[in-house]
Symmetry: C2
Subunit: 415 residues, 2 copies
């Protein structure tokens, strides 16, 4: 077993080699990784069955076990994902701008690899490969830390990727998995200053909070989403019902799903019954304010402060009737998590005010919040959705995994 310090030293050495790799060499290595995964399906499934056995023993729920499970088809899908990363444009080396200063210095800003990227994730073995491939294409070494439920699968996948790199004559240490799953080691990883250039947690609110509180390395906070749909006075109510249904029900477990509905008072009488009807086939539980309950009846549970702040990730939603657009914006800016927010309106002024004043990574007029996604945004890939304002905000593609440096060409200039 390699301990964390050995891994960190290895990653630091590998980042130098990574910084020198051209696009063709990186793409060849990614293709080799994809091939290796497809050639070793049996080995991967064997490791995965260990994890599945532990999971069943530990009584994990069916949803979690399903996310943990690999199949030949899923492994093909993972390999295909690596080939798609190989096909993406290489962001490294682009000179974003270059100008000549009055003293003759030529100054340019060039996109360069981050260096060493840390990623902590939970019980999804596929993230091992997705994350490693993106970091690799972005020219960085990575240190991954898998949730213990997926550990055997993740370790097998990491070992296969490392082997593929070696076969290409590249340092295996460009891809690393932390080889124990203790909380102590995870905390030490969050404090690898001087080794990790950035740490990205991918998982639930608990994991993200632990990273934000314990990390001393730079962190990109990703993802919880208390997303709102606000139905304005002038909304097209059919559109609003369709957007609400999609944002709430199409996939309940994701961060861009809607968790709260706000309705302008003048649209409430007409819209709330439509909303209830749109959500009924999925048996969505409503937690409403008094005015909502007056319209829809006592089958709507009373909404508490807690409900307005909650990311249900379930067939539940909070509902509030508001007096005005201003109140809607204030409510959202108070309770949201900076993820995705939508107004449904036919009013130009209302749409502009909402898009301007709501403070979130993605603000929508007349479209489902479910579009907040790297692929939907056309980035070709996604490492997560940032809900902080530093470095990257919203869906993060390859560019979010890069840094820049200034390159300066002189001819003896001094100050």
């Amino acid at each position: 077993m390699r301990d964390l310090q050995t891994i960190a030293n290895g990653a630091l050495a590998a980042k130098q080699a990574m910084a020198r790799l051209g696009t063709n060499a990186k793409n060849r290595a990614l293709e080799a990784i994809a091939d290796t995964l497809e050639h070793n399906v049996r080995q991967i499934l064997a490791a995965n069955s260990e994890d599945l056995e532990h999971a069943q023993h530990a009584g994990l729920n069916a949803g979690l076990i399903d996310r943990l499970r690999l199949t030949p088809e899923r492994i093909s899908g993972i390999a295909e994902g690596v080939r798609q990363v190989a096909a993406l444009n290489d962001p490294i080396g682009e000179v974003l701008w270059m100008k000549t200063r009055p003293n003759g210095l030529r100054i340019g800003q060039k996109r360069v690899p981050m260096g060493v990227i840390g990623i902590i994730f939970e019980a999804r073995p596929n993230v091992t490969v997705d994350a490693a491939a993106l970091c690799f294409k972005a020219g960085s070494a990575c240190i991954l830390r898998s949730g213990k439920e997926a550990f055997h699968s993740s370790l097998c996948l990491a070992d296969l990727m490392r082997g593929a790199l070696e076969q290409c004559g590249l340092p295996a240490d460009a891809i690393n998995l932390v080889e124990d799953t203790s909380r102590e080691t995870a905390t030490r990883m969050m404090r690898l200053n001087g080794y990790l250039d950035v740490l990205i947690p991918r998982g639930g609110a608990g994991l993200i909070r632990a990273v934000v509180e314990n990390a001393t390395v730079p962190v990109i906070e990703t993802g919880t989403g208390n997303c709102h749909i606000y139905v304005d006075a002038s909304a097209d109510l059919e559109k609003a019902a369709a957007i609400l249904k999609n944002a709430k029900c199409q996939r309940i477990s994701v961060c861009n799903a809607a968790e709260s509905l706000l309705v302008h008072q003048s649209a409430a009488e007409a819209f709330l019954p439509l909303a209830a009807q749109a959500l009924a086939p999925d048996h969505v539980r409503l937690h409403g304010c008094e005015r909502t309950r007056a319209i829809l009846g006592a089958s709507v549970l009373p909404a508490t402060e807690d409900d307005y702040a909650k990311e249900y990730l379930d067939y539940e939603i909070s509902v509030k009737v508001v007096d005005s657009l201003d109140e809607a914006i204030a409510h959202i800016n108070r309770y949201n998590t900076g993820h995705s927010e939508c107004i449904v309106t036919e009013s130009y002024a209302a749409a502009e005010q909402f898009l301007n004043e709501v403070d979130a990574a993605a603000v929508y007029a007349n479209a489902s919040t479910r579009f907040t996604d790297g692929f939907e945004f056309g980035f070709g890939a996604e490492i997560g959705i940032s809900t902080q304002k530093l470095h990257a905000r919203g869906p993060m593609g390859l560019e979010a995994l890069t840094s820049t440096k200034y390159i300066i060409y002189g001819s003896g200039q001094i100050r």
Copy 2:
């Protein structure tokens, strides 16, 4: 006295108003601030003399007392700085790109204010105004924390700025100074998650370390600089001596000053005597490797590991003869702090390799490291020099104080 929580609440409320301010309103407020400072010179000097008295009592050194001291000329200079910030282009509102997706969604990335910016600085009262003006122009509220040596001056300046905002009909709470200087309050400020969108320490290595270790809010790490001048085999030795002298001696106390000289073995015999001669008028102490001492004699102190890692900020420099460009790059990547690094060379290949492979915010061919500066880079202002890779790297101007959000125009799209 307003306690930290009161200040944080006020800043959070003010950021909403700030986000709505147009460029003209911001510029008018900045002009009003500049005028107020100039009209209240006597009040500022009175507060400053309290700080100076304490400083003399406490036996602070002359350099520190000089940095603390305000004069009518310096106050004019500070006001002039505010007017220059008013004259800068407003970065807020720019749509960096907008495209239409196949489903008809129009997605754009728009530059928006950060929200609330925290800045912790040391004994330089002028930073109170410089930092507040930049944050204000960037559309954000700020919470400033002054070193206790400059506290009375900083508080007076902050109060004057707050008054000027109120006179313009704007919320005073857009600019805040933490009103006690205890370490406990500083630590609480570093953990104002949900209030501070970013925290920037401006000061020495101790302050920066304390922030990196204690902060749970996102941080931009600024500035220590162990900067190297590498004189290559093919260097123009006159140019090299001039660059070395400028980078080491022009201003010793700044982060972009040179702290270490590396010389290719084939240039060592010819260059080291020139280097010693260039540094002699300033009585620079050399800490050299064995080969350096063999050439320059025993007046050169022996260099230790510590010397290679040291940011002297004084008339001292470490000197090492290296076998090759590769060794120089490896040495720099091992000991540097990611700030500014320079190669002096007439070789195209050597320059390109150095610029590609040295890992630092600014890499120079044939120019002094002293140019790493927001003004020298043409940014018109500077809030500090980032030595991390996230968000901003190198000199930070107004844009580094902004974030982005995605604005999405739909017509009912769902997934």
